[in-house]
């Protein structure tokens, strides 16, 4: 209990001190996860919308695959990306292993199925009804699809929030493909693992609290967008 208490004190001390090493870790975490979720949104929302508008009968196999990938253990995702990006791997020539780009790729790999799957489920609820309504009012395919997305925005933002929460909090994949190199690929979660192993529990808890705070701020922003810009 004492350690937790000291950890909280440490967290605020670190935040107030604007420790540059810490700031770098926090910013890298954010940069990697925000870019990853942005790419996953660009891929997952259109794909999920397309699938959600198709009759469920015709997408059963794809559904099962997506749901399986949604639950993929991060270390497995990390391992797969590692093998693809390692020297002997198919994309080895790019030399991306142990860079933030590798971490972004791994997180895109983890988040895209979540964004796709949850968007699909959300669209399925009312999507075809809305699409028909739009078409009966004279919308072409593009406007009809956009209307469906707009009308399902709460579910879609929920999908994005869930995807973001997953990647910002995961440690297995970024550890494997990033390598937790200080000043280059160290993010909040990998730093927590390291500090815990070294016995610096206060610092580890402090980082954990900062991670939660950052997550809270990002989620609040997304949540407010979800509510149509209005608080509450």
């Amino acid at each position: 209990m004492l350690r937790l208490y000291e950890g909280i004190i440490e967290a605020f001390r670190l935040i107030l001190a604007f420790d540059p090493a810490l700031l770098e870790i926090v910013l890298l975490s954010l940069r990697v996860s925000v870019i990853a979720i942005f790419i996953s949104t660009l891929l997952g929302v259109p794909l999920g919308t397309l699938l959600g508008l198709k009759p469920e009968k015709r997408t059963r196999l794809i559904n099962k695959i997506i749901f399986t990938f949604m639950g993929m253990p991060p270390v497995v995702a990390g391992l797969i990306i590692y093998l693809i990006l390692s020297r002997q791997g198919p994309l080895g020539v790019l030399g991306l292993l142990y860079t933030p780009s590798a971490m972004i790729i791994a997180q895109v790999f983890l988040a895209t199925p979540i964004v796709t799957g949850l968007t699909m489920v959300g669209i399925r609820a009312k999507g075809s009804e809305i699409e028909e309504l739009a078409r009966s009012l004279g919308a072409g395919s593009a406007l009809a699809a956009w209307t469906v997305v707009k009308e399902s925005r709460i579910a879609i933002l929920g999908a994005i929030i869930t995807g973001f929460s997953r990647v910002v909090a995961e440690v297995g994949a970024v550890m494997i493909v990033g390598g937790n190199i200080a000043g280059r690929t160290r993010v909040m979660t990998t730093a927590i693992v390291l500090e815990t192993r070294k016995g610096n529990f206060e610092l580890a808890i402090g980082l954990g609290i900062i991670l939660l705070l950052v997550s809270f701020i990002i989620n609040s922003i997304l949540y407010n967008i979800q509510r149509g810009g209005k608080a509450n």
Binding site: E129, I130, E132, A134, R135, S136, L137, G138
Partner: protein
């Protein structure tokens, strides 16, 4: 002749609609009546090009239905369907009414004029800025109709537009339909389970039973002198369903 359906049928697991011939003339109000599950909504959806028929030929103003998506859209833009389950966009009342005009690329000023005028007509001008999901059932239904007629379609398809409404709202909506038909000469096809309503506003009545058009003709004749015993049972309220 506005619409002609020849040998149209629709099969899901079984055949749910079979129309040998149906002709809709311009400028009239048609009432479609029939028991639940008869195929009334299916017929409206086929007319609105939302559901492709399993077979048959569809003519709109003498032109047969094009396979090409773009021409289809042009054709579809001559009509509007108000669905059986009122569905408004999660947006302001004003934006709901403006939707079809925006989809057709009307200019901003024209859209503003039309939407404001329509909201005034349906008596909901004060609700322009309200979120559509906060409306009462009657208000929502009036907005759904206003949204469908904003772009002045040639053909207005209404699926049970007054189900679950109180007499005041029913009267209001019936008046709206009549006015649209007489002043803007919009052809109306209205599905209703209420034979009295069909009698009040339809010029022509079509009775559908188990996917078949049993009888169609001038309203007066269908109600006073139906030829088919099933029609008689239905209009006299003796059909059990």
């Amino acid at each position: 002749m506005l619409i002609e359906l020849i040998g149209i049928n629709k099969k899901y697991d079984k055949e749910v609609l079979k129309v040998d011939k149906l002709v809709l003339k311009e400028g009239l109000v048609y009432g479609i009546i029939g028991p639940s599950g008869a195929g009334k909504s299916t017929l409206l959806r086929i007319i609105n090009l939302l559901t492709p028929p399993s077979s048959g030929t569809y003519y709109f103003m003498g032109r047969s239905l094009p396979a090409n998506g773009k021409e289809r859209l042009q054709l579809q833009r001559n009509m509007a369907l108000v669905f059986q389950n009122t569905l408004l966009f999660r947006d302001s009342v004003w934006n709901n009414v403006a939707y079809g005009l925006k989809a057709r690329g009307y200019g901003r000023i024209e859209i503003e004029q039309r939407v404001d005028a329509l909201l005034e007509q349906v008596g909901l001008k004060d609700l322009a800025a309200r979120r559509a999901d906060t409306l009462s059932g009657g208000e929502a239904q009036r907005i759904a109709i206003a949204r469908a007629v904003a772009f002045e379609p040639k053909l207005l398809l209404l699926d049970e537009p007054t189900a679950n409404l109180d007499p005041g709202n029913i009267e209001l909506i019936e008046k709206m339909i009549k006015t649209l038909n007489s002043t803007k000469s919009i052809t109306v096809v209205m599905v209703t389970h209420n034979v009295f309503q069909a009698r009040r506003i339809a010029h022509e009545v079509i009775f559908i039973h188990e996917g078949n058009i049993v009888e169609a003709g001038p309203a007066e004749q269908i109600f006073t002198d139906p030829k088919d015993p099933r029609t008689r049972d239905f209009v006299e309220g003796r059909m059990i369903y």
